[in-house]
């Protein structure tokens, strides 16, 4: 069993409310029984709920790193507040009397063990999981439908361009919504999102002029997407293998959700990686109808491993039941790291993770990966953002020889060659950070490493960057989260 601290229990909770509710149960003395197994591996108890019979909940540390939560309550939140409460009761030092493991849990443990055994056996026998059979004619049908869907989308987009944005009124929102719905029939979930995004950009902000600028850019992006998507789908339908494109993000744009097995198939998996989270934030993506937990991670295990992103999508409908990610202050040791097709900050995923304390050498390794010349970094950024379907806000770790501020209050970082980079808060980041720079300790104002997010402002023709995190020696100062 790992050392149980309230911070550890906090980290298991799906969200802040669950923490509060779990602690509340302890305070209310709702737990009518608290037990632990002889060897201390299993904590279990009964907790009074609104019904007559109390809920039976347990936390099983038979695999110390991945506790198993069980509860008889009907909550879909996982772990539920009862299981968390049980752990909080333990951390608070309440007495857990020794008792034999209840029968039902013993049998569940047995089943789990068998499953595990089977897995090991299969692995030992070297049985590769059978490759999924692809129904080629169905796939071809799907591709044809997608092509039709793109035609439909193109017609709609062109009608907007022809008529002019100024003639669009609220009734257009309805038309768009109808189209969004239709696109679902054509297997184009990616297009649905982008069309909804257009609608949000066009009607969302208060400043109409700014809305036009954003909406126009989104229209050209839709155009590029239709063009590229159509070419790709046509090529794919002619390809007898009908393979996915594992190098560009076009499949994701079309709405493909990559499965780990597919990524593995294309060799996009790496054994044994160590990741350091540099920044984190969570935002509401109204076009996706999801909350997105976004983490920026540095791959410590490889030379120039680069900065990757983790995405945790929480659809509105299920947001309450899903785990909300949080800032991660340890090094994540990941046995298998999956990388999605993409460019600078490609998406990564992993299934299992073990935390390890951050050491000074980790930050040195991170610093070693920083770009030292802004001219080159900017070149790289521009190379990416000129492509209409690329991520327009690449994130990079840059070395700063000095940090400063001009007379008119612009924050600036300068590299060793004397190239200056303007630092500014970006509208798409939920929190401003530049005004925190003067609070940096004196030592961290020069010869430091700064994680920045770039964004090009079309109206001003400026490429700006917002600082997210500052690394100096053995300290990491997170300006965002």
């Amino acid at each position: 069993m790992p050392e149980l601290t309230s911070t550890y229990v906090d980290s298991l909770a799906p969200n802040a409310a669950a923490i509060k509710n779990g602690q509340g149960l302890v305070r209310k003395k709702s737990f009518v029984e608290l037990h632990q197994s002889e060897n201390g591996e299993l904590l279990f108890g009964k907790c009074a709920g609104s019904g007559k019979t109390p809920y039976e909940c347990s936390v099983d540390f038979i695999a110390a790193d991945s506790p198993v939560f069980r509860c008889t309550c009907p909550s879909r939140q996982f772990p539920c507040k009862h299981a968390l409460g049980l752990l909080y009761a333990y951390t608070e030092g309440q007495t857990f009397t020794a008792a034999p493991v209840p029968e039902d849990i013993a049998s569940k443990r047995e089943k789990a063990e068998k499953r595990e055994e089977n897995k090991v056996k299969q692995a030992a026998e070297g049985v590769e999981p059978k490759p999924k059979k692809v129904n080629k004619s169905a796939l071809k049908k799907k591709i044809t439908a997608q092509l039709e869907g793109l035609d439909l989308l193109e017609k709609l987009v062109l009608s907007f361009v022809r008529g002019g944005l100024s003639t669009m009124d609220r009734s257009a929102v309805k038309t768009i919504q109808e189209h969004v719905k239709q696109l679902g029939n054509y297997y184009l979930s990616g297009a649905q999102i982008e069309l909804r995004r257009f609608s949000n950009l066009m009607f969302g902000g208060k400043d109409q002029e700014q809305n036009y600028t954003y909406a126009m850019e989104q229209l050209t992006r839709l155009h590029a997407f239709i063009k590229k998507g159509r070419a790709y789908l046509q090529a794919r339908s002619e390809d007898p293998e009908l393979a996915l494109d594992h190098e560009s993000t076009i499949d994701e744009w079309l709405g493909h959700a990559w499965q780990l097995s597919e990524l593995k198939e294309y060799g996009l998996v790496k054994e044994g990686a160590e990741l350091l989270q540099l920044a984190f934030y969570s935002f509401n993506d109204a076009a996706r109808l999801e909350f997105v937990d976004l983490g920026y991670w540095l791959d410590l295990s490889a030379e120039g491993g680069g900065i990757h992103r983790t995405f945790n999508y929480r659809p509105y409908k299920a947001a309450k039941l899903m785990r909300e990610e949080d800032s991660y202050f340890e090094v994540a040791v990941v046995p298998q790291l999956y990388t999605y097709p993409g460019e600078m900050n490609a998406r990564i995923r992993y299934e299992a993770v073990t935390p390890r304390q951050v050491q000074g050498t980790d930050l040195q390794r991170a610093a070693a990966q920083a770009h030292r010349s802004y001219t080159e970094a900017v070149k790289k950024v521009k190379n990416q953002i000129k492509n209409p379907l690329s991520d327009k806000q690449p994130v990079m770790l840059l070395h700063a020889a000095t940090l400063g501020v001009t007379e008119n209050g612009q924050y600036v970082m300068t590299d060793e060659e004397g190239t200056r980079l303007l630092l500014e808060d970006l509208p798409s980041v939920p929190q401003g950070t530049v005004e925190l720079l003067p609070f940096l300790p004196a030592a961290a104002r020069e010869d430091c490493y700064i994680l920045v997010m770039f964004e090009h402002n079309l109206d001003q023709g400026r490429l700006r960057a917002q600082p997210l995190t500052v690394i100096k020696d053995e300290e990491m100062i997170r300006l965002l989260y």
Binding site: A48, G404, V405, G461, R462
Partner: protein, 614 residues
């Protein structure tokens, strides 16, 4: 490459998107741009391509070519891509060093802890105050990232939150915060900027006097007042403060008075007395002096007070004059509230002597204040004065009683106030009996104030998940009662049916009080019964009734109550219920449905603990 030209073209394309691509053909502003692109196109293939695009838009080739909409999309896409490669990172001006802050804060809080606080501080809606206060108590504001929102909270539309940031959160950053706040101080601003100054005056302004002085002279009226208040106690600004104290604007004068009083200089005192004498600002100065008394000023005002009292009207013939004089006298009371001196003794003795004159004028407040003053400077002379006053009007009995407490032994006290009353009571009839009953009630009330439900105590509510804190009140401890009060009081209280006091004064071995209190429990329930039930049980404990008996009485009381459900059970009762034997569970379960509100929660909580104890 000419970025400006590309930008211009982008603006023109943007215009076409807004107006509609159909209008592109023959557009004269596009036409105007075309030659430049053609010229540049001779050297650069990119410009050539862009130029061709413009030309195609201006003159749609034929009906079978791509629609103007498609063309516009194509060309804009190309233009955008080019523009994205042209973004400048240049900075206007040369960067200097970052400003230095006098304090550094860490950034160790995780997202899930920070985000709710940031949201609470940047949105509107209910429940925000609690989140912020909790976060502050947990020390979350020591995280750097919450500092700017904490400053922004000074202008929160929910003023309680703004005040909380001003009085608690921001001062907790120490003196370093002053410089930071001054940087963003808007001299034309309103309430939020004044709050900044208030924070600065709390943490100390020593290092930033120049800036504050500047604000005091140049800001909006509110700002000036706030800044002036920060300048009290700094001699170098005394002349300015004196000048501001004669300003035309009331708010400025008030601020200057405040600063002068807080500074405590001789010249400042002189100015305050002057202002007081002039009568116009008398009330304002009095309020200031009540907070920051200045010794010399008090002495001079006291002399003036006596003079004006003596000159007060002899009768109420001119009602208007009486009121006017009273309005001028009241500020003396305010300003001299904390003053104690032979001079003041004399003044208030004079007031009491002149009872017959001042009372008909309607100046009861003045007499009350005199009584209060005398009560708090107890000597034999004052006691005699209060006794005489009590004879004039029973409303001063409490003052007399409290003064007597300070000079008499417990036995003397009882004899003085009850020994005689009780004898008299038997014989009295009619009005005199009524008077005596009124005096008894006054006495009971006075003693209750000193002994019953005093000493607030906070406790964490265990039955509520949110862990709200509530408070309960305690009785004066038995030992203090035994030491300071005559034992005969208990019998007197029982006789008077003063149940709260009987409970408070109850002691072991007194059979009467035990019977009396249990008898009170058996009386039929009335709406107000619950108010004294906690004190009955506290009394029973004091009377030495064994716990099992008391628990049974409490259980029975819960069962018998059919009349009124209180909102919440007193802390003491809940603690007592927690000691219920497990066998009460079923009885308790039966009564729970009768109760509502928080009581119900409390009973359920007790019931849960009973069950788990089983």
């Amino acid at each position: 490459m000419s970025t400006a030209l590309l930008q211009e073209l982008h603006q023109e394309y943007r215009r076409l998107y807004i107006a509609g691509s159909e209008l592109a053909a023959g557009d004269f502003r596009l036409k105007r741009l075309l030659p430049q692109f053609q010229q540049l196109g001779e050297r650069s293939p990119v410009f050539k391509k862009i130029g061709e695009g413009i030309a195609a838009l201006l003159e749609p080739a034929s009906s079978d070519g791509p629609a103007p909409g498609v063309q516009l999309q194509e060309h804009t896409l190309l233009l955008e891509s080019v523009l994205y490669t042209q973004g400048t990172i240049a900075v206007d001006g040369t960067p200097g060093p970052l400003p230095v802050r006098n304090f550094t804060l860490h950034t160790k809080q995780p997202y899930r802890k920070l985000a709710p606080v940031l949201e609470a501080l940047s949105t509107t809606g209910s429940g925000r105050h609690e989140i912020v206060v909790d976060a502050y108590k947990e020390g979350a504001f020591q995280d750097l990232r919450l500092l700017p929102p904490a400053v922004a909270a000074l202008s929160d539309p929910y003023s309680e939150l703004a005040e909380y940031a001003m009085t608690n959160i921001l001062p907790s950053y120490g003196p370093g915060i002053a410089g930071y706040l001054l940087e963003s101080l808007d001299l034309t601003g309103g309430r939020s900027e004044v709050r900044k100054l208030e924070v600065i005056s709390r943490v100390g302004a020593d290092e930033y006097l120049d800036q504050i002085f500047h604000a005091a002279g140049n800001g909006s009226e509110e700002i000036r007042a706030g800044a002036i208040k920060c300048l009290g106690g700094y001699e170098q600004y005394l002349d300015h403060l004196l000048e501001w104290s004669t300003d035309k604007k009331k708010a400025i004068r008030e601020a200057a008075y405040t600063a002068l009083a807080a500074g405590g200089s001789a010249q400042g005192g002189e100015r305050l007395v002057e202002a007081f004498i002039k009568k116009k600002d008398r009330e304002m100065v009095a309020a200031v002096l009540a907070r920051w008394p200045v010794a010399e000023v008090s002495t001079r005002l006291a002399a003036l007070f006596m003079e004006e009292l003596k000159a007060a009207p002899q009768d109420n013939a001119d009602k208007k004059l009486t009121d006017k004089v009273w309005d001028e006298l009241l500020p003396f009371i305010t300003a001299l509230r904390r003053e104690r001196s032979p001079q003041m003794d004399e003044i208030y003795s004079y007031v009491l002597q002149e009872y017959a004159r001042f009372s008909p004028l309607g100046w009861i407040t003045l007499i009350e204040h005199a009584a209060w003053y005398k009560e708090n400077t107890p000597d034999n002379a004052a006691l005699a004065e209060l006794e005489a006053l009590d004879k004039r009007s029973a409303r001063f009995l409490p003052n007399y009683f409290r003064a007597a407490q300070k000079t008499m032994s417990p036995k003397e006290l009882f004899n003085q106030f009850c020994g005689t009353f009780m004898d008299k009571l038997k014989a009295l009839v009619g009005k005199e009996a009524k008077d005596a009953a009124q005096r008894s009630q006054l006495l009971i009330h006075t003693i209750e104030e000193q002994t019953v439900d005093i000493r607030r105590r906070n406790y964490q509510v265990e039955y509520d998940a949110a862990g709200v804190r509530q408070y309960s009140r305690d009785l004066l401890p038995s030992e203090e009662i035994a030491a300071d009060w005559d034992p005969r009081w208990l019998d007197w209280f029982i006789k008077q049916d003063a149940v709260n006091l009987a409970g408070t004064f109850a002691r072991p071995g007194h059979q009467g009080v035990r019977d009396y209190l249990i008898g009170k429990l058996k009386e039929p329930y009335k709406r107000r019964t619950y108010d004294y039930i906690p004190n009955i049980f506290k009394g029973l404990e004091r009377a030495g009734v064994p716990e099992p008996e008391r628990l049974e009485l409490l259980m029975t009381a819960l069962e018998n109550n059919n009349v009124h459900t209180p909102y919440t059970f007193e802390f003491y009762l809940v603690k007592l219920m927690e000691r219920f034997p497990a066998s009460y569970a079923s009885r308790l379960e039966a009564v729970v449905p009768k109760y509502r509100y928080e009581c119900k929660q409390q009973l359920e909580y007790v019931l849960n603990s009973l069950r788990s104890a089983k």
